[in-house]
Symmetry: C2
Subunit: 154 residues, 2 copies
């Protein structure tokens, strides 16, 4: 469905305004379709943190490092991690070299949860992108990267 139909606008939109709204709208669509997170009592952000910690392959990560790599840089990574610790998916310990820092590890429970989610996510992403060819996916990635290539902000 075109974005105009999706949000039921009658007046035709300028391509650049349309593109901005289209990115926002498609992002919400992706979030809404990603039901597997809720089903596992995770938010997308919590999942994202787990993925980052798994990517560390045993090396500890501190809060800042995690934050820098997050897709959605919530200002409150602390409380996000709190939830994961409470669920025993993440372990938290004070760094001995620099006690200001916190060392974060994914637990084996966390690893298991991710393992069980892996095929589901993989399948979901395939489904989401099923109508796009390899070439189109490449183009889409290129154009989105280009859109963010702004340097005036952030």
């Amino acid at each position: 469905m075109s974005i105009e139909k999706a949000i039921k606008t009658t007046a035709p939109m300028e391509p650049r305004n349309k593109a901005v709204i289209n990115v926002l709208y498609t992002s919400r669509y992706l979030e809404a379709t990603a039901t597997h997170f809720k089903e596992n009592d995770l938010t997308m952000q919590q999942y994202n943190v787990l993925r980052i910690l798994r990517g560390q392959k045993g090396k500890p990560a501190n809060v800042m490092t995690v934050q820098e790599r997050m897709i959605d840089r919530s200002s409150n990574t602390t409380r996000l991690i709190d939830k994961l610790v409470k669920k025993s998916l993440v372990k938290r310990q004070v760094c001995q070299q620099n006690r200001r820092k916190i060392e974060l590890f994914i637990t084996s429970e966390g690893m298991e949860l991710l393992s069980s989610l892996d095929p589901i996510i993989e399948h979901h992403n395939k489904e989401i992108t099923q109508h796009l060819t390899a070439k189109e996916l490449e183009t889409l990635n290129l154009l989105l990267d280009k859109m963010r290539n702004n340097d005036k902000h952030l």
Copy 2:
């Protein structure tokens, strides 16, 4: 910047996974750069509602109608509208034909606020899309529409 660099992943990503993350990330980027909303004590959703009501050109809209046209369909359109009413940007009255319904109008104050925002948004969207040609914008819109063309969800 490529999405890999942006979120500092070391392992190369599959294009389809990359595309999904890229849409989410770019959307957050757009939200973060849209500082003019906060400066006018509006959230993006509140702005969106005002735009929808202006689009009605005097015709009243009810809550459901607004919700259907929103980019981000929050389940709580009621409270969102509460805020706008409190700020005198929107007027709310019970529909006489069907008293379950609520008729929503943008006030002249709301119209004025939108008018003052129009050039700012226009400028911002130009800036955001400055590196994309007309052809590229068209392609981007097409590919995003295609991505949502899924029918299995929503």
